[in-house]
Amino acid sequence: MSTLAKIDPDISALIGAYADCIDNEHYDKLPDFFTDDCRYRITTYEAYRAKMPIGILECSTKGMLVDRLNSMRDANIFEPQRYRHLLSTSLATRAADGTLTVRTGFAIIRIVQSGESGLFLSGNYHDTVVAHAGELRFRERLVVLDSSRVDTLLVIPI
């Protein structure tokens, strides 16, 4: 049985800064929040519980994450939109080697140019956070969406 670790303000700052980065459309900075050997995935609660290997999106390397951001910028066609993240308190457990496992709930409001603004997705971040060159980074960010249904399309990372 793991016990809750005291949340380091730096971890809250990391999680908040990541959301802030997306909400302010600084997408090219997003890879900086990850270690070089990172993994970034989005799945659904249903698939996560059923241990299904395929979710919504799978970047098993940092290169794939960079490619996705490049594709969003240069290749994919979608209605201009941005996100507003709402974050819960983070819960953390610390492993023997110091690695922190952090879980944070979120809701995302999607804003499109018509002015329509509504709940797009909600879920949990399941993060593995490590110290890297004196700063905290995500080694793994698994996004577990509450619903198995995605409205229209998902292009901006969560």
Binding site: I42, T44, E46, A47, M52, P53, I54, G55, I56, L57, E58, C59, S60, T61, K62, G63, M64, V66, D67, R68, N70, S71, D74, A75, N76, I77, F78, E79, S148, R149, V150, D151, T152, L153, L154, V155
Partner: protein, 417 residues
């Protein structure tokens, strides 16, 4: 009661005189036509795919699905038998199963505890004889007249289809030889389900089916293909049509050996900035897994099933209408039971190409809405479908709208439009 729900109701507009090379914009928005589709098409002489047999492996396992927008239950009612019925109690119409999946020995309605066996036959009625001799059902009440509304079920290569009509031809005949052969090829080995999700789209269901059948748009709307040299309109391939044109297979073959330059490389048909290359091309790694050499095949089966092979990313998609202006696409991704670990990893990596977050396919989630918002309420006018001619025939070129015209041909025939 709307006019369209009456027998022999006519839609409130005429089909354009040009035939299937024109589609009135009204076709995608008209609520009376939508009601007519539910009655005469989805509950008419067509087969609706509702999932895989392996999703209900044990007797009593059920899943809930839709015929058009009508909720149904599909249950394994015997070791090799399936039953299906409207998800609606025969008593007062309450939803019988409100879970996505589950297992039942009987289906008991929560409202008044009427219960049905796995084949949908009414077995017991709560307080049938009343209490202390008072109340209860009249003595002439016949259980057999109050069974669930049953649907016919047929299976083919692990896919389960249902139909609400007695007029529907046998499934093999409905699909035809060419379509059955392609299903036999795709489902020649035991499958396993790798992922499931749905995508809600704000457009009429037919706009998505047109999009699926439109091989013309692939390289133009989906720039990930072009940018990363996956665009293959210049490659060997073609369109095969079946049924009354309502079924189609769009296929192509590419070099799947990632260690050598692709055919596309050699042809220098790159429309993208050369600076734009993948940092991690592992999602493009694939292996040739079908002897026919086909690497990309989209099979659309009328009215709303898609069987997808995009390299090694395999899926079925079932489209459920959600009113005239919306639809929901249910994706089930699969591999084979005997996949190696490496093959499984490649399927996972390639899953990035498809779905609502698909690098290749995400645009399909919104393109229908780009049409819907422009034609509703501005419905005067018609869509033009003349790429590849005016006919509904197999085509060597995929720069063609023949399979879209085929869809409309079968649609018109089914609805007598």
């Amino acid at each position: 009661m709307t006019e369209a729900s009456l027998p022999n109701a006519r839609p409130p507009f005429e089909w354009p005189t040009e035939g299937v090379s024109r589609v009135a914009f009204e076709t995608y928005v008209n609520p009376d036509l939508y009601a007519l589709e539910q009655k005469a098409l989805f509950k008419g002489p067509i087969w609706n795919c509702v999932g895989f047999d392996i999703e209900v492996p044990n007797v009593g396992d059920f899943l809930t699905a839709w015929v058009g927008d009508t909720p149904i239950v599909l249950v394994r009612s015997g070791p090799d038998a399936f039953s299906a019925f409207f998800n609606r109690c025969a008593h007062r119409g309450s939803t019988l199963c409100f879970e996505k999946t589950g297992n039942r020995k009987r289906f008991t309605c929560v409202y008044h505890n009427w219960s049905y066996d796995l084949e949908g036959n009414l077995k017991t009625v709560a307080f049938q004889k009343g209490v202390n001799g008072q109340g209860g059902l009249p003595p002439d009440f016949k259980h057999s007249e109050h069974n669930l509304h049953k649907l016919r079920v047929a299976t083919l290569h692990g896919l389960i289809f249902v139909t609400a009509s007695d007029q529907t031809p046998p499934l093999d005949d409905y699909l035809g030889e060419k379509m059955c052969a392609h299903l036999a090829r795709t489902f020649s080995r035991k499958i396993k389900i790798l992922g499931k999700y749905s995508q809600y789209m704000h457009n009429n269901w037919k706009l998505y089916m047109e999009n699926v059948k439109d091989s013309y748009h692939a390289s133009l709307l989906h720039l990930f293909f072009t940018t990363f040299k996956l665009n293959r309109l210049s490659m060997q391939g073609g369109l095969i049509l079946g049924g009354d044109g309502g079924h189609h297979i769009s296929f192509s073959k590419m070099s799947t050996d990632v260690s050598t330059p692709t055919e596309y490389d050699k042809e220098k048909l790159r429309a993208q900035s050369d600076a734009f290359t993948l940092h991690d091309p592992s999602l493009l790694k694939s292996w040739p897994e079908f002897e026919d050499g086909i690497t990309h095949a989209i099979q659309g089966l009328f009215p709303n099933l898609i069987v997808q092979q995009i390299q090694n990313s395999l899926a079925i998609r079932i489209l459920v209408p959600r009113g005239p202006n919306a639809c929901e696409l249910f994706w089930t991704l699969f591999g084979y039971e005997d996949d190696t670990e490496q093959e499984g990893a490649m399927r996972i990596a390639q899953s990035n190409l498809i779905g609502p977050a698909g690098l290749v396919s995400m645009e399909d989630g919104v393109i229908g809405n780009f049409v819907q918002r422009a034609i509703n309420p501005n419905t005067d006018g018609q869509a033009v479908l003349e790429m590849g001619g005016h006919t509904v025939e197999d085509q060597v070129s995929r720069v063609s709208e023949a399979s879209v015209r085929g869809f409309w041909q079968m649609y018109r025939k089914t609805l007598d439009l």
